[in-house]
Assembly symmetry: D2
Homo-oligomer: 284 residues x 4
């Protein structure tokens, strides 16, 4: 695909936003390659994402932002413009379960996911070889159950050091402290192995087996202070039957977790996910 500038914005709805934005683009000769918009009548809020062919605009990314700023301010927008040619830096965190990590590494390796993975962090040393085969540094940061704070301090330091744009909890299994969550709003993505809000917390497949549900699911969401309650990016389910023991559900669930997390991360990397309150607008 050709290089694109991605303009993403949200603001209180009123007449003239699309007109102002599209005039701005066309007045500089910009060719719109893709565009989505959404108005939420409940909160009277407007959301927009536009991809402009970078070659058709006479701007660098910084100059484009500068030129757009007055419009953004006049409409009181939350906004950003990104360059599709600039990969985001994704720090992956995992524990002992490898399926989500392996899946993301493969999609990265095969260039399906356009990003950089500067490092993988784990509280166990188990997945080092798999990660290092991909040429990615592996940081084993053990957790002392009696005092987890040093672990989280080290993680925060690594995230800063590697200049992560986004952190992915690929079945990391530790609950992040509120302070860490707050430092990275809408920049930490988790995969929970249930169809939230059902079966939040620990051992969701066992909870699902106990209840006798006929579908199991997975939920990809931004991490907030409230455990398993952040804005949902994507969810999916798969059918099970009475034949499936909890270990079958774990196995079947892995494939759902992998695809939901990969899809959610992809959308995030392409600036398709806009958060408003505790919900997401996903221009998929």
């Amino acid at each position: 695909m050709d290089r694109r500038y991605r303009l993403v914005l949200s603001c209180p709805d009123r007449v003239g936003i699309v007109s102002m934005v599209s005039n701005f683009i066309s007045s500089h000769g910009g060719s719109i390659a893709d565009a989505n918009q959404h108005t939420d009548p409940g909160c009277n809020y407007f959301f927009m994402r536009v991809e402009i062919s970078a070659a058709t605009l006479p701007f660098s990314l910084d100059a484009l932002k500068e030129a757009f700023r007055p419009i953004a301010q006049s409409f009181n927008m939350e906004w950003d413009i990104t360059d599709s040619a600039k990969p985001k830096r994704v720090v992956l965190m995992a524990s002992r379960e490898s399926h989500c990590l392996a899946d993301l590494l493969y999609r990265f390796h095969s260039e399906e996911l356009f990003c950089e993975i500067p490092c993988v962090i784990s509280n166990h040393d188990k997945l080092r070889s798999m990660v290092e085969w991909h040429g990615i540094p592996y940081h084993h940061v053990p957790v002392d159950p009696a005092d987890k704070q040093p672990h989280f301090d080290k993680i925060e330091q690594l995230i800063a050091e590697y200049q992560a744009d986004v952190v992915v909890l690929a079945r990391y299994m530790q609950i992040l402290p509120p302070a860490l969550c707050e430092h990275f709003p809408h920049r930490i993505i988790n995969i929970h192995h249930s169809f939230l809000p059902s079966f939040a917390g620990a051992k969701p497949y066992h909870q699902a087996h106990e209840r006798g549900v006929k579908l199991i699911g997975a939920t990809c969401h931004y991490v907030t202070e409230d455990l398993d309650a952040g804005p949902i990016i994507d969810q999916d389910v798969t059918r099970i039957s009475h034949r499936d023991h909890p270990e079958d559900m774990v196995r079947l669930g892995r494939d759902v977790e992998k695809s939901v997390l990969a899809r959610g991360l992809r959308w995030h990397l392409e600036d398709r996910v806009l958060v408003h309150g505790n919900k997401t607008v996903v221009f998929a």
Copy 2:
């Protein structure tokens, strides 16, 4: 399809059950047209459903039961044998929402569902014409919010009078009193308009909208004293997006409710649902 005897049984697992049952059948010349079995290692329980071509056995239904009884007793089975040619009597209950009722009536009318529908009961008079077009009596039994007991007494009387084999709450929207639930164990089927256990109780689509989920669902279950907590027969979901307001979710959800309820009822009518504890084994 040719006429079948359906033998359904469950009992503590041990060696020799299948052998004893299949010997019984073949020793009388019975031809097995379909068979399913399941062993739950968690509770060491065995479940079986066998369809035998009725014409190949020298028994009436009653004589067949009599002949099988000693085997059932020796294995301490919960069991039943039914005749596929004998339609079950299904009493439908509805309120003001017509989609599930209309769907079941159509499937009955088009002979997709093999059953009798001796009457429809509703706490409103709104759907009378639709029901009566199908040649089915319609009973309007109003609810006095100050004292609902007379309503439920009347319903229990109608269920008895019409000799219902199964009662279907096709969006009936009233909570049945515990006594009524206990009188008809595993014989009252409800459709709940959420993917249980998420969003039990009232207005599940609004709850789902509030939470920002990406799929909505419906759950067909047997009614027990515990609201929305009975054994689940079937569930399904459909994808929604940020574009969908609660009224869109209501609309999209209707199709899921209809198909899940119709499937659950069909399985019940064909004796495919075995309940054990708070879970079902569905030999679909």
Copy 3:
């Protein structure tokens, strides 16, 4: 929902289309309630659909069209503007199978589908009572296999007489003559009971059973001269197994046919389907 004007257009892509259209709208104070656009880089074509709150524009529908015409001409657009308050007139055609007809009638009756159904036409008299219960005229137009032309002449006359905006072949089972197809381009919708292009032609479920596929499907498409080859609006599938005989596939397929046809018709009624060449852009 509030009343909307729906502007739908397609034209060769170039810089400035969105800007021109949105300026036009905002310069008259129009509030955009929903908008979608798509650029097909393969054929360099642009597609757009905009919903404008009618109350925010100082135009009648005709005046709005008049005002927009110069823009449309300058960009060489195929275009139309419709009024969401004006229901389209849908003539339904059926044969002996009632499931799609009953499903559409119910959705009409329950006001889920916003349209008028001025009449139902069938080559059999079987479904008269069901149709007339809805207060809709039923025309039985028999087919003489030796000379089908009088049948099609009569149908064309009825379509004209009832001023149909769209004709739906709800399992009508007759192949329309090319002339009739040409008279109503992109205005005749058919449901084919297979996942096209697999199993075009007669008895698709039997073809599917013969081949041993593991999913069966249905396809909603605009009718063209080429049988089962017109632009596809929607498709869906359902899982089957070795247990399913052709008659089970017919039964399971009915639910897919119903939902795919209802969805396709809904999108058509809401002006969400744009045809280009032999493909559709669906702004769902």
Copy 4:
């Protein structure tokens, strides 16, 4: 799971098969852990799969086969008994596309798939490092387009040398010569990247894009002489839209291919797939 003997059989249907088989098992004290059966009334054929807890039988695998042989002969069965503790030997073949290969390697590595992978064969050298990281020999067997026979001879030799129980064409992209197909009936599994019988042959995603379908799929089947026409083991689909270019379809299709192939192979490894004529019975 405990060790199991898996008895798989098919034969012309008649009274007494289940009885004879289950008597045989129970008379030796065998505990049935799982069982499935199916009667196809179209061809009057009977199919059965029984898992027996190995520890409950006084037989080695060979002795069990010997003991069962007379029954098998008297019913004219095609049959086999396998030992769940004995992994099948799976030779993987790939070309340049790595997604199916990487997926199967991961499932093998994580012990989700119980098998041995004695080697991977490819007509390119591209995937060597990935394969060798798993400790599996990689054979690069180039194809000379002018004379492919030496390539296929070498492959047949490797299959024999490594004593493959099953060969998986994980996007191998070469058409096997009829002789090779015939040597391994129902033992070569292919993944085709379309929903067969649609879009057989080359470049199915481009064919699908051309036709404007709304779902794309993948098909896992046994390889026969007739290209893309062998018995189907599993299929699945995913939704696409007008936004998806052929390269998007390739990307989205990869996930379907991976899951369908992995599921099909798993079923094969667990002896769940019975072939009759050109169709499969899958006791999933």
